[in-house]
């Protein structure tokens, strides 16, 4: 009998060498569908609002997110004059013409979005004063040929500075951004030349080594490490507090939970206090000012 037990356990041992992965789904509480609204205002630009609807994980299709095409989106100025924004494509993006409804510095605006039985409102104030570039330079530093990489590798160092005009009471914050517009020429793997519009929105908020502050002047140094840049604009953005606060929250949320094993090993930041100024929903309604400099790669 004891020998049989031993044989059974030995068989169990060898059959146990099979390995399996994962996975099960988790049931969680009911979640009331909510509107997600992103509204952005800037003088001399068309007002823009993006509208989405989200559902909870308990739904049969999981946490589904839909772009909303037939929402009522109204923007009011401080005088109570309103304009209905219209969707011009199928991406949930709503716009108003800046000629019909101009956005002014220092003015307060109210946003109202209605969809189905859901309704949200939000307010924001456009900054009175924006920062401007004091200086801006760019230099190409090196060119490397990497065999198993796509073509040549060029790095351009971007340097600039501006005077800090933020105050604690007005809650103004800065972000320097690169946005290369116009034609961007790249060479693909097969040597064909393609032309595409390529825009990158990154800001120094997320770039650890970009910023130094001396007295009231903020110095920025960044890198453009993409092949084929030829010309573009480098933007300096002054954010209104709601836009800034939402950006901070979203940047911290990036590492919250990630199925990628590499990021999984990054320390987890726990529960993040969400930020929104959309009453009855999530997202943000904010504003910004821009100062741009044009440059061409040498």
């Amino acid at each position: 009998m004891k020998e049989k037990v031993i044989i059974f356990l030995l068989m169990l041992f060898f059959f146990s060498c099979l390995q399996n992965e994962t996975i099960d789904e988790l049931k969680i509480d009911a979640f009331k569908p909510q509107l997600v609204v992103y509204g952005l205002l800037s003088p001399e630009k068309d007002p823009f609002v993006n509208v989405r609807l989200i559902k909870g994980f308990e739904e049969p299709n999981g946490a589904e997110e839909d772009l909303i095409h037939n929402a009522e989106v109204i923007l009011y100025n401080a005088l109570g004059e309103g304009i209905l924004l219209t969707e011009v494509d199928t991406t949930g993006n709503y716009y108003a013409d800046k000629q019909q409804f101009a956005i002014s510095k220092g003015e307060r605006y109210t946003l109202e979005v209605n969809y189905d039985k859901l309704s949200v409102t939000a307010e924001c104030e456009v900054p009175v004063e924006g920062a401007v570039w004091n200086s801006f330079t760019h230099t190409k530093t090196y060119e490397i040929v990497q065999p198993f990489y796509l073509g040549n590798y060029i790095t351009n160092i971007i340097s600039g500075n501006w005077v800090d005009v933020s105050t604690q009471t007005e809650q103004y914050y800065y972000v320097g951004g690169v946005d290369v517009t116009d034609a961007f020429i790249a060479t693909n793997l097969h040597g064909d030349t393609i032309i595409e519009n390529y825009r990158i929105g990154f800001n120094v908020l997320y770039d650890p080594y970009a910023i130094t502050t001396v007295n009231d002047t903020i110095h920025y140094q960044g890198e453009i490490s993409y092949n084929g840049w030829i010309k573009g604009y480098y933007h300096l953005i002054t954010m209104e507090e709601n836009y800034y606060n939402f950006s901070v929250t979203s940047s911290r949320m990036k590492n919250l939970i990630d199925p990628n094993i590499g990021n999984f090993l990054i320390s987890y930041k726990g529960i993040l206090p969400e930020f929104t100024n959309i009453e009855g929903g999530v997202g943000f309604f904010g504003a910004y000012l821009t100062d741009s400099v044009y440059f061409e790669m040498k």
């Binding site: 099960d24 952005l40 946490a63 589904e64 065999p147 946005d179 970009a210 726990g270």
Partner: protein, 796 residues
């Protein structure tokens, strides 16, 4: 002060008393290698006196009248013997005991194997203890016999998550446990990213965990004291033990330095996987990859200077090293290397002297060093940029204890401890082509930590006994003094020979604390201490218990139950949205972040009940442990100021552990555990944030995923359960003993959740439908190990 004067008065009275009797004392040894046996019980029935041997195997009955006596000597690892003596003069006995493995070879007998809860008659703290021999019998992950993990099979002690070597005790976080190796604090107690502990089972005699009713000699942590002692040295002959396993291999050598006087023990353990990985890399064209290494080394020297004086010294050092690299060795020397290192260095010396049969003293000095380092090197065309994060701790301790046995019924311990702490929680520097720049530093802290304590062990009547103590602690940091008076009371009432009731009250203070990241990831605990803005943590604990030796099957069953209530004050955690990254990372958002401002102190409560049913002897032995508990906390500014369950709040926890001696050579062991799922915060929904094209004020390319959170720890992971099985074959040889073990971890391949993540439905990344999935990382895992003991054996 009055108490001290009373003590001194009794001390004086004692020296005035003389007796006409003879002294009876001795030493208990393990016969096979003449190693001293700690915690052997020497009992004289006619006097109803029992003495437990100390770390050096010594016992002393003091002066006894001239007479004939029968002695019963027991030890968990050995066969019980009886000895008859006639006491005609001062007598020193040397008593060898035969270990179980030798007995089993010849004849099977009923022997006592398991002694988890200790003597049910003694007013001792709520303690659980496992000998290194018990631990060898417990199945283990990848064959690693882990004393700390073995403790988690007992009630009230939990694993943080599957595979982890840390512990949660009665609702307290990992930083609330004081690991003492030979009375020296250990600040980092794991290897291999926290998967196994750094306690080498071959190097220790046993591991003891006190979770309530703390004697006054212990302090500095709220939840538990994990007391570990390295094996005393072998005075008689050379003995070699070793083992080969999948994850690590080890070797332990005992060498007599002076026959019957002094000995040396050295025990080393190291993983060999890094050699295998390096060999593979030699044939690889890429530098990309991961490598890791860990080792630990224990050394101990014991010197029996005289019958009254013993000296011992020890050293412990360990290191973990993880390296992740990217590069191409063929085309260039460019590379990007991330290295993380954890290291401990502990050392100390102790001298014990017995002045007479009633007074003995010990003087101890030790040092604890801990260092953590992250090194990130970018080497590009000989342009080297290196970022180095370091975190260090240095402690020096002096401890002096005086044991005074006024009578068999009244014993005192008076002691003091003086510690200097130097904490460097974290600094980040940049080294750019040998130009070093300090980027970030959390300030260093120097503190002085002094304690005095008095314990009295009093047997009031034959049935009622108590251990009452008081500890005073002064913690001085930045010239700010924190005082703490900590009463400790532990009583036991013997209802009958086999049943006792126990109760205890303790107050504990913890002035140093660790900031642990609130989730999964590489362990990065930053040790900090009480400051002007951060208060010490406190806890109180009340416990009531019942121990009963059941009167059937040769009294081989013990039933223990205990209820506890533990309020905690000023417990510390990161505020929502913060982690060690904010202190050690280089994100400009964290510029100027002060650690005291991103943590929160709050109050917690843990309460519950524990049951332990042990079968202590026979062919089949083992235990069933069950814990029902609640643990919650409340912090200002977290979870809308409402109570929330802590991560380690576990409503039900059940463990079944068994050992079955199939034949004289074969042994089967198993453990099955079940636990309520870990409390976890999950998003209730997700949404995407598009990148914005600000030049045209519209949405751009790409997006980020954002979350709508539940309340803190509102959800539970799936319940955790698994079965581990092991089989051991022990063989006796002319040269010693060998054991071959095969094991299966998670035998029925339960997919226990390790972490949760948001995934796209149907694994389609472009889908706008997402769900939450759990990921399991420990499937069924077989293991093999081989251990051996080489040593001179006496003829029977």
């Amino acid at each position: 002060m009055k108490l001290l004067l009373s003590f001194l008065l009794m001390f004086t009275i004692f020296f005035g008393v003389q007796s006409q009797t003879f002294q009876l004392k001795g030493i208990v040894l393990e016969d096979k290698n003449s190693r001293a046996l700690e915690e052997a019980s020497v009992y004289i029935p006619i006097l109803n006196k029992k003495i437990i041997t100390d770390k050096n195997g010594l016992f002393d009955f003091g002066q006894l009248p001239q007479s004939h006596y029968q002695l019963q000597i027991e030890h968990v690892a050995c066969h019980t013997i009886e000895l008859n003596i006639i006491l005609l003069s001062d007598t020193l006995l040397t008593i060898p005991l035969i270990t179980h493995s030798r007995i089993l070879k010849e004849v099977k007998i009923e022997e006592k194997k398991l002694d988890i809860t200790g003597d049910i008659k003694k007013p001792q703290p709520t303690v659980v203890k496992l000998s290194s021999k018990n631990i060898l019998d417990i199945p283990a992950l990848i064959g690693e016999k882990d004393p700390v993990k073995a403790l988690t099979l007992l009630p009230g002690i939990k694993q943080p998550y599957e595979g982890a070597a840390g512990i949660y005790v009665r609702g307290g976080g990992p930083e609330q446990n004081l690991f003492l190796l030979n009375n020296t604090p250990m600040y980092h107690s794991s290897h291999f990213f926290g998967l196994i502990s750094n306690i080498n089972n071959n190097a220790i005699t046993d591991i003891k965990l006190i979770k309530g009713g703390f004697p006054a000699r212990y302090g500095g942590r709220l939840s538990s004291i994990v007391d570990i002692n390295t094996k005393p040295s072998n005075y008689q002959n050379v003995q070699i033990e070793g083992g080969l396993g999948i994850l690590s291999s080890n070797l332990t050598v005992g060498i007599p330095v002076v026959k019957k006087k002094a000995g040396l023990m050295i025990s080393a353990r190291r993983t060999l996987l890094d050699y295998a990985i390096n060999t593979y890399k030699k044939y690889s064209t890429s530098d990309n990859g991961v490598n890791f290494m860990f080792y630990d080394l224990n050394g101990r020297y014991d010197h029996h200077i005289s019958d009254r004086t013993q000296f011992s010294a020890f050293i412990f050092t360990d290191e973990d090293n993880l390296e992740i690299s990217e590069g191409n060795v063929i085309t260039s020397t460019d590379k990007d290397v991330l290295t993380q290192q954890w290291a401990n260095l502990l050392y100390g010396a102790e001298i014990k002297h017995q002045f007479n049969d009633k007074l003995k003293s010990s003087l101890l000095f030790n040092a604890a060093n801990y260092a953590f380092k992250v090194d990130n090197l970018h080497d590009y065309e000989d342009d080297k940029v290196q970022f180095i994060l370091t975190s260090k701790i240095k402690d020096y301790n002096f401890i002096n204890n005086w044991h005074f046995d006024y009578s068999d019924n009244l014993k005192f311990l008076l002691g003091g401890q003086f510690t200097t702490h130097n904490f460097s929680p974290g600094s980040v520097e940049k080294n750019h082509n040998e130009v070093v720049e300090q980027l970030k530093t959390i300030p260093d802290y120097d503190a002085i930590d002094g304690s005095v304590y008095l314990e009295t062990e009093h047997k009031h009547t034959n049935n009622l006994s108590s251990n009452i103590g008081l500890r005073y602690n002064l913690f001085n940091v930045n010239d700010i003094k924190h005082h703490s008076i900590e009463p400790r009371v532990s009583t036991k009432y013997l209802i009958n020979e086999n049943t006792s009731l126990k109760a205890s009250y303790t107050r504990m203070q913890q002035p140093i604390m660790s900031l642990s990241n609130p989730g999964l990831g590489l362990p990065l605990d930053l040790w900090v201490m009480t400051t002007d803005n951060i208060k010490p943590m406190y806890s109180q604990q009340i416990s009531l218990g019942l121990d009963k030796r059941l009167e059937f099957w040769k009294n081989n069953f013990i039933f223990s139950t205990e209820l506890y209530y533990k309020p905690m004050k000023n417990i510390i955690t990161y505020k929502d949205g913060y982690s060690s990254d904010n202190l050690t990372g280089l994100d400009p958002l964290d510029e100027g972040v002060i650690w005291e401002e991103i943590v929160s102190q709050g109050n917690g409560i843990s309460y519950g009940g524990e049951l332990l049913f042990t079968k202590t002897a026979g062919d089949f032995s083992g235990w069933v442990g069950y814990t029902l508990s609640w643990t919650k906390a409340k912090h200002e500014g977290i979870n809308n100021d409402k109570y929330f369950p802590l991560r380690y709040d576990r409503r039900h926890d059940l463990s079944l552990v068994g050992f079955y001696q199939l034949t004289s050579k074969w042994k089967i062991n198993f453990s099955w555990v079940y636990g309520t799922g870990q409390a976890i915060t999950l998003p209730e929904s997700v949404y995407t944030l598009p990148n914005f094209d600000l030049s045209n004020n519209t949405s751009g390319v790409g997006y980020e995923t954002l979350f709508i959170q539940s309340e803190r720890n509102e959800y539970r992971m799936k319940a955790f359960h698994k079965l581990d099985i092991g089989m051991q074959r022990t063989a006796q040889h002319k040269w010693g003993e060998s054991t071959f073990e095969i094991g299966v971890y998670n035998a029925y391949n339960r997919k226990n959740p390790y972490f949760y993540a948001i995934s796209s439905m149907d694994d389609d990344p472009s889908s706008n439908q997402r769900n939450i999935r759990s990921y399991s990382v420990f499937p069924i895992i077989p293991s093999l190990s081989y251990t051996f003991k080489i040593g001179k054996r006496k003829k029977q």
